[in-house]
């Protein structure tokens, strides 16, 4: 009886857990407009003010929102537009045009998109759209027709603004700003770009959950509260903040931690976060080195020594092979003296892993043994990787620390 009850309890809990995960994942993955704005209230107020003036007074404005990736530029503008559209007098008045520099890669496409979003093709009826020039003059004529008081303000939102600046002659930008500076249809041009910083976010550290299972939700929130006071968690977050101030990378971190929550392990712990952080800050190349064979490790060590001796000059296979031979003949007891073709094979495998890189394009005629290569691993990286390398022969490890250890 009791076991059955606990089982059903378990089931309920599992259900709750999956709901929690779903809610939080949604919050991390989508830029939900419900989430609060942190640290940009002043900018937000200013933006709203400008947009309102365009919408209500018909005053043309142009705004450039700059900030690094993940600092909430798009969220800011989405918030602002959403609030703006809730004002009734604005709602009926404003036309919006959203453009993205990654989608509208040249002015021609951008113009067509503007025409489409302004629903101007209805005016044209069945007129077949012709050349770029015709499009441009058509649109300019359309925008020129309006004046401050009578025509509907248009808000242009140019995402990835900097890419528009790469268009030929910057025709689109010139014309948009020209319109915004002359007595034509009122427009607000809002550019979003990541080329420069705006202001910075304070950390976002809260995992509140509105939830059906009340007791569970309370427990969860208590746990979150205690977590946020935990020293370790704070350390992890501080460390992460040191690396990157982007909201998105924080979301990635939290997502990783969240994925560790299971019915048997229902609440997030500090250890989860720490592990997630480790996962985030892992050196990917060192991981590759862990999976290499001893021969390949030996080759990498040989290359490291060559780099030390020749001061970062490029090397070729023959040099590496000689270095390896020296080691095997003088010192090694645990490493088998491989045939040259086998070593060559290992060498090519390293090249495929992009741990070494040819200096110039591989040509058919050049002999592969003499092609100049460079190592894409740092000394410290190699040493760290060797520390963790499972079952590393001692003589290899010694050789790695010093090329002269055999003397």
């Amino acid at each position: 009886m009791s076991s059955r009850k606990s089982k059903s309890n378990n089931l309920i809990q599992a259900e709750y857990l999956s709901q929690v995960q779903r809610i939080l994942r949604e919050r991390f993955c989508h830029q939900s407009p419900h989430s609060n704005l942190f640290g940009v209230q002043v900018q937000y107020k200013h933006l709203i003010e400008l947009l309102k003036r365009t919408a209500i007074h018909g005053e043309s404005n142009s705004i450039l929102i700059i900030g690094p990736r993940g600092s909430g530029k798009t969220m800011l503008i989405n918030h602002a537009l959403k609030e703006l559209m809730e004002v009734e007098e604005v709602n009926e008045n404003v036309l919006q045009v959203h453009l993205n520099g990654l989608l509208q890669i040249n002015d021609k496409i951008a113009l067509k998109e503007i025409t489409r979003q302004l629903n101007l093709e209805n005016v044209v009826g069945d007129k077949v759209f012709g050349s770029f020039a015709e499009n441009l003059s058509f649109l300019l004529e359309a925008l020129k027709k309006g004046d401050r008081t009578s025509s509907c303000p248009v808000i242009f939102i140019l995402d990835e603004f900097d890419l528009f600046a790469h268009h030929k002659n910057q025709t689109l930008l010139y014309n948009l700003f020209d319109i915004s500076q002359s007595a034509q249809t009122p427009v607000a041009v809002i550019g979003l770009t990541c080329r420069l910083y705006l202001k910075i976010f304070k950390e976002q550290l809260s995992l509140p959950a509105v939830f059906p299972g009340k007791i569970f939700a309370e427990k969860w929130n208590e746990n979150v509260q205690s977590l946020s006071e935990d020293r370790n968690v704070r350390d992890v977050l501080q460390k992460h903040f040191n690396v990157s101030k982007s909201l998105r990378s924080l979301h990635t971190l939290l997502m990783l931690a969240l994925n560790r929550v299971t019915p048997s392990h229902p609440f997030m712990t500090a250890a989860d976060l720490m592990e997630a952080n480790q996962l985030c800050s892992m050196d990917s190349k060192a991981n590759i080195v862990h999976g290499l064979s001893v021969l390949e490790i030996c080759l990498i060590i040989a290359m490291k020594h060559l780099n030390d001796i020749y001061e970062e000059e490029p090397f070729n296979f023959q040099m590496v092979y000689n270095e390896f031979q020296k080691f095997v003949q003088r010192k090694a007891h645990s490493v088998y003296n491989f045939e040259k073709p086998v070593v060559m094979k290992a060498f090519e495998h390293l090249q495929q892993l992009e741990l070494i890189r040819p200096m110039e394009r591989t040509s058919v005629t050049a002999q592969r043994e003499y092609q100049l290569m460079k190592l894409l691993l740092d000394n410290t990286q190699i040493m760290n990787a060797l520390q963790k390398y499972p079952n590393c022969p001692t003589d290899v490890r010694q050789w790695a620390t010093s090329s002269l250890s055999w003397l």
């Binding site: 009926e92 009826g125 069945d126 020039a133 441009l136 303000p153 690396v243 990157s244 060192a286 691993l377």
Partner: protein
């Protein structure tokens, strides 16, 4: 406005009511006309003397006019049913620059008697939409406000393109009388059926339609939503092809083929050229005209009798068929046509004004038309649909097969986009592109297509003077706002409005000298009827374009006051072109309304400016952003500067660019020498000038402290002298002031503190803020870069080198050991912010890194904390 059928949505049938009053050759007048709108009973009857609405370019506000005469004019190429009207003009149709002459606000339903004899009053009767009530009021009477009927207009004044005048008393009396004897508006169904002619006409129309549908199966599927317009358009084009368009060559040809035909026909032709020589349309307009009879030469009489049968069949729609077919009319065809035609009994013996059979008659008449007409025919630019192009090509090929190679060559060069809606008046323009010429024989053999093209051609726009009434075409516009824009509520908002760059100031302070120079230059060229070039340079925001616009505005006013000869003003902007050669297209389109490809437009323009016909007015061309018109060959600039040097061109070119030495720097010698020595350079504004500009904009508005204005003027003058920047800073300062002010109802003055803040915002380096706000790891990476640069003495380092430094730095500062991946992420992040210049990241460790900011800036930014 109430529901008003437009041609796009409904079909309307127009027919005369009652017998024609008097018939002259090619010309019969009528008292009444009935308009039958498909799907709507009862019909509308229109009588002479009534006020009518006429379809115009604006569906919401159709033209208002008084019917003076209804007549059938066989000379008119596309529609025989014509009407002569006296126009009324709405206030919104008065040119904007003259609207202020009224001196008061117009009432909603007020219209003006249009007293402008040059205005063409001969319109196509089928453009009449319905009737309307017009009430004449004495100038001091108040327009009644209880307007239940929207279709009532009030007329108080007359407008003659110069000024508003009260209505002359006799006119007033006449209008008043009309109003009392307001005729019945609508007639019941049975009343109208008494007319004998209409049934037969409608059948004829049916026949005609059937023929047409047989020929145009390929095209009838086009755009079901617009059943009429596209097809009609195409037919127009086709008929242009089918028609011989220039008569001087034709007359010689005519002799040869005329001799092949019967002598009777020959005689007939002679008769007609006599008849038509007094131009009908050159007569002054007015109701009395209708009684002026045209005499029928006896010679023509007998011929006409033998052709009478055919003429009868010339129902309203049939007119065009005859015209195109006649030059080589074959007996088999005529008989075939006759079978379709119901013969009207009793009228057979009448001498009916015959249909125009020969195009040259039209030409003759046209040449007598007043010059006014040519301007009316600004053809509507339209994009031709593919299918029509296809058919066109097919027809062309056929024609080419029939010989006549010379004209075909011309024809091919001619881009068929310029659609000709009023085909008759167009060719008088000197600029007309080489029009297709066809010998009559080819036309006759190509009967099917030309017939198809000519059937049922509705001419849609009434011909009028260009200024207030332009032909309808779909002009794109942004939809108008639902709620009115709010007016500024307080002083700061008012100031902001005035400080906006778009606000057009009443005067341009500090540019008086430049204004005078440009004005004198253009005026002298206008007075001398010569051409010339001028190059205006200056950094952005120094008022170049504004000054030129002001000059043109003043000159336009002067030309209206007849102080300078009239001129045509065209403006092109290099930035608004997709490609330098597009400038030709734009100029040609603004000059003549034609559209052509860039190459073709260049030829047409060259022709126009090099060989000039008579009585052309001067053209003033403003080319903004000239440097964008640079091409490898510099042919665009060359042409722009070469045209004015021709004596006949009468072209004044004003060019604007930013660089002072543009002619020397990028132009070849032959180009810059044509540009001439008339140069003007706009100096950046000094601080006192900027101050003056601000003060003039903020006249009578106490929003700024005096010191504040001086401060911003000095700040901007020290940097760039850009007036736009100056205005923007002031505008921003008003925002800051409003924002910082607690009481929203009474914001204080904008002080120097506010302005300083705005200046700070505008001119502060964003890089430094960026570095200050970057994360710890990013900052230490920047330090590592600096350290590496100092170590190597180079301004560039590979990622690996920087990484080593970075690891050392982190160790020193007690930061956790940065892994390679993390550091790479930091590096690429800085690269995407453009604080660093980095190579593509596939180079990995060997990636080269450079600073995009000066080292001092980085040091300064990092030290601050």
């Amino acid at each position: 406005m109430a529901y008003r059928p437009t041609r796009l949505r409904t079909r309307q049938t127009y027919s005369w009511i009652g017998k024609p009053l008097d018939r002259k050759l090619h010309y019969q007048t009528c008292k009444e006309m009935s308009v039958k709108i498909e799907g709507r009973l009862p019909e509308i009857d229109l009588q002479v003397g009534q006020f009518v609405l006429i379809e115009g370019d604006d569906d919401e506000n159709p033209y208002v006019a008084k019917l003076v005469e209804l007549f059938e004019d066989d000379f008119e190429p596309y529609s025989k049913k014509r009407a002569r009207v006296q126009w009324f003009i709405r206030f919104c149709e008065v040119p904007v620059c003259k609207q202020h002459l009224l001196g008061r606000k117009p009432d909603a339903q007020e219209i003006f008697w249009y007293d402008y004899p040059a205005c063409n009053s001969n319109i196509n009767a089928e453009t009449i939409i319905g009737h309307v009530q017009v009430v004449a009021l004495a100038p001091d009477e108040v327009i009644p406000m209880d307007l239940k009927n929207e279709k009532t207009f009030f007329v108080k004044l007359s407008w003659n393109e110069k000024k508003f005048k009260p209505l002359p008393p006799e006119l007033f009396a006449q209008l008043d009388k009309l109003q009392e004897s307001n005729p019945r508006c609508q007639k019941s169904m049975e009343a109208k059926t008494k007319s004998t002619e209409s049934p037969s006409w409608t059948t004829a129309e049916h026949v005609v339609k059937r023929i047409e549908s047989r020929h145009s199966t390929s095209k009838s599927r086009q755009t079901p939503s617009h059943p009429v317009t596209p097809r009609a358009r195409k037919r127009l084009e086709l008929s242009n092809l089918g028609f011989p368009r220039t008569h001087n060559t034709r007359i010689s040809q005519q002799a040869s083929w005329a001799s092949l035909e019967s002598p009777g026909r020959m005689k007939w032709k002679v008769a007609f050229s006599e008849i038509t020589s007094p131009s009908k349309r050159s007569q002054p307009d007015g109701p009395q005209n209708s009684s002026a009879a045209l005499k029928t030469p006896e010679k023509a009489g007998e011929i006409q009798q033998c052709w009478a049968k055919d003429d009868k069949k010339a129902s309203p729609d049939g007119c065009m068929i005859l015209r195109t077919r006649v030059p080589a009319l074959k007996t088999t065809e005529t008989s075939e046509e006759r079978t379709f035609t119901p013969v009207r009994g009793g009228q057979k013996s009448l001498v009916v004004p015959s249909v125009i059979l020969k195009p040259e008659n039209i030409k003759k008449r046209e040449t007598k038309e007043p010059v006014q007409d040519e301007a009316t025919s600004t053809p509507r630019p339209r994009i031709r649909r593919k299918s029509s192009l296809l058919t066109l090509n097919r027809i062309r090929q056929q024609l080419r097969f029939l010989g006549n190679s010379k004209s075909d060559q011309e024809d091919e060069e001619f881009l068929p986009v310029a659609e000709i809606s009023d085909s008759d008046s167009e060719e008088e323009e000197a600029s007309t592109p080489p029009l297709p010429r066809r010998t009559p024989s080819s036309v006759s053999r190509n009967l099917r297509s030309s017939m198809k093209s000519s059937l049922q051609t509705p001419s849609k726009t009434p011909k009028k003077t260009p200024e207030p009434r332009t032909p309808r075409h779909a002009t794109p516009r942004i939809r108008s706002r639902n709620l009115a824009a709010q007016e500024p509520a307080n002083v700061l908002e008012e100031a902001r409005l005035r400080l906006h760059v778009s606000a057009v100031p009443a005067s341009l302070p500090c540019r008086e000298q430049e204004f005078q120079d440009i004005y004198n230059f253009v005026e002298s060229k206008l007075l001398d009827h010569t051409g010339g070039c001028m190059y205006i340079s200056g950094v952005p925001g120094t008022g170049k374009t504004a000054t030129v616009h002001e000059v043109i505005r003043c000159l336009q006013q002067a030309s209206q006051a007849n102080d300078v000869p009239p001129f045509q003003y065209i403006e092109v902007n290099g930035m608004k072109l997709t490609e330098p050669h597009q400038v030709y297209v734009q100029i040609l389109q603004k000059l003549t309304g034609h559209r052509a490809t860039a190459h073709h437009a260049a030829e047409l323009l060259a022709k126009r400016f090099r060989t000039r016909g008579s009585s052309q007015e001067t053209t003033v061309l403003l080319v903004d952003e000239l440097d964008l018109l640079w091409t490898q060959k510099q042919d665009v600039m060359y042409n722009l500067f070469d045209w004015p040097t021709h004596k006949e061109a009468r072209l004044v070119v004003l060019t604007i660019a930013n660089t002072m030495d543009l002619p020397e720097r990028i132009m070849m010698n032959r180009v810059s020498s044509r540009l001439g020595l008339t140069r003007m350079s706009f100096q950046p504004y000094t601080h006192s000038q900027l101050q003056q500009i601000l003060v003039s904009r903020l006249k009578h508005l106490k929003a700024f402290e005096d010191d504040a204005i001086q401060l911003v003027a000095r700040k901007v003058a020290a940097l760039s002298g850009d007036a736009r920047r100056c205005l923007d800073i002031c505008r921003r300062a008003t925002e800051i002031c409003e924002f910082s002010c607690q009481k929203p109802d009474s914001p204080g003055l904008v002080t120097t503190a506010h302005l300083l803040e705005a200046v700070e915002e505008m001119f502060s380096s964003s890089y430094i803020t960026a570095i200050k706000n970057s994360s710890v790891l990013e900052q230490s990476f920047l330090r590592a870069i600096l350290a590496e640069f100092r170590r190597s003495g180079l301004e560039e380092a590979t990622f690996q080198q920087v990484y080593t430094q970075h690891v050392a730095l982190c160790r020193m500062e007690g930061l956790p050991y940065p892994t390679m991946s993390e550091t790479m992420a930091v590096c690429s992040h800085l690269g995407s912010c453009r604080l660093l210049l980095v190579e593509p990241s596939r180079n990995d460790l060997l990636l080269r890194v450079r600073l995009n900011v000066s080292q001092d800036d980085v040091l300064y930014a990092l030290k601050e904390e």
